[in-house]
């Protein structure tokens, strides 16, 4: 008969093997490929002669670095805007919705269950000279010329992504707000703090970890995005993720693509680790 302790290897073994084989090792394989000097696709069985040539190429190509900066900026704006817009919604759900909170939360989350591509597509329909917004406005006789509404541009990508992520960003903020104890707010009230003082000096500081979690839950998927830029951004709106995807698709340059992917991964992990250190995410997870 297997004792309690004897069971442990069978509990840890499978997930550990799976994660090492399909997560840790693959990330390590990116490093190996990024150190290959050749360009183009790499035939199986090619010799491995490590060099830093690919990283040098990235650093020597201002367009790559510019696109990395732009992607980080787009992700920053999208994550910031989605978190800020989600905050009042989460606040409403946590403190004002009362017994209907579950219903209101569900209503908020249904759009998030709608196909990602469909939600992106809908903005292709809304924006643009022949888009819904323009045809409604001109149909109502409010405008003569169609307004230039940003289709195939970087702002269009930002608008679309903020739209996509708002419901998701509300979840960590809500979780953070729900952890605030009423007694803390009562104590502030007893000490003479008015509603605004209580909000700014009690609620907001206590909700920072949830808001930071929301920010990164949006930032991470956005910084590597290539699907939305392809469909909505056009040639002027491509992002760093498009570069990576391109080098593994039609442009076919795996070692260079691997170096680009590695750079993005390192930057993302450093950013997340720094933020986690500052706001103590562990407490939020517990």
């Amino acid at each position: 008969m297997l004792g309690r302790r004897g069971t442990l290897p069978f509990l840890v073994g499978p997930p550990l093997a799976w994660l090492v084989g399909l997560f840790v090792v693959p990330l390590f394989v990116i490093v190996l490929f990024s150190l290959r000097p050749e360009s183009g696709i790499v035939p199986p069985g090619s010799a491995w002669n490590p060099s830093l040539i690919q990283y040098g190429k990235v650093l020597d190509t201002p367009a790559f670095l510019r696109l990395l900066g732009t992607s980080a900026l787009v992700a920053f704006i999208v994550a910031g805007a989605a978190t800020l817009l989600a905050y009042p919604v989460a606040y409403f759900l946590a403190f004002r919705a009362g017994e209907r909170a579950t219903l209101y939360l569900t209503l908020l989350l249904v759009p998030f269950a709608v196909s990602y591509l469909l939600r992106i597509m809908t903005w292709k329909l809304m924006l643009g000279p022949a888009g819904v917004i323009n045809s409604l406005l001109s149909g109502a006789g409010m405008i003569g010329e169609p307004l230039d509404l940003l289709l195939y541009s970087r702002p269009a990508v930002v608008i679309t992504l903020v739209y996509v992520w708002i419901p998701f960003a509300a979840l960590p903020v809500l979780a953070g707000l729900q952890r605030i104890q009423r007694s803390q707010l009562e104590a502030a009230a007893d000490l003479g703090a008015g509603p605004w003082a209580r909000f700014w000096r009690v609620t907001v500081p206590l909700s920072v970890p949830g808001a930071v979690a929301a920010f990164f839950m949006v930032f991470i998927p956005t910084v590597g995005e290539y699907v939305t830029p392809t469909l909505i951004g056009g040639t002027g709106g491509i992002m760093y993720g498009n570069l990576i995807q391109g080098f593994f698709g039609s442009a076919g340059n795996w070692p260079l693509g691997a170096a680009l992917a590695m750079i993005m991964l390192v930057l993302t992990v450093v950013l997340v680790a720094t933020a986690a250190r500052i706001v103590n995410v562990r407490r939020l997870l517990s």
Partner: protein, 268 residues
Amino acid sequence: MRRRPSPAIGVGRTRVPLRGFYVAMLVLLYLPIAILLIFSFNPSQRLAFPLQGLTLDWYAAVLGDASLLKAARNSLLVGAGAATVATALGTLVAIATLRFRFRGRSALLGLAVLPLVVPFAVMGVAIFLLLVSLDIDKSLFTVVLGHSVIALPYATLIVLSRLGGLDPALEEAAMDLGASYPTTLRRVVLPLMGTALLSAWLTAFVVSFDEVALAVFLVGGDPTFPVLLYGRLRFGGQLPILISMAVLLTSVTIILSLVALRLSRRRE
């Protein structure tokens, strides 16, 4: 000055129209989707107002498009496979980290949720290069492998939160009565976790079913529905029929997500 007395609960009310903001946000979220939905019933090939009438032709056309149906079937299979793997592994991680103290305990939990912080493009590159190195052909199976990794954090966290609310005394009682620990897990713990496991499975399924950015790197010649949709959207396929198909599949994900949400909130 109209000043309300501070309410006893301590959450003072200002006149900020929070409800109005919430409602406005809902309108903003639903309106674009509603407009897209409308065009799936509009006979015109072009997606522009004014509407030309009301038709179910696009939905009928979906049923006649073999490649769309095949892709939908592929997505169902991939989602089911990835969700099953992710839920099984997530359950093991949850039990090991909550019920045992061992070296590397928090490292295991950290590793299980770490895929959350890796952008999908990087994940796609990583697993793609692994497949290349091992000379494995891309296929629906390799998409299952990739999706099982990105769904694992969600499954783990859902199971973890439910198991945390389960009294360990129940397990001790079963073992005092002579059950081995594996038997205790199978006959006591897992049955009590039923709804959490289903909730984790459904969430993992939806994560996989809708995923395109990672799947593009791992799929072979036989696409999942999101990959097919992405390709046709890029190269200008017939839009209304694609929207109809996406609407049909989306209703599946909405229902499953609602069930998962309901299950995960029960008994809390």
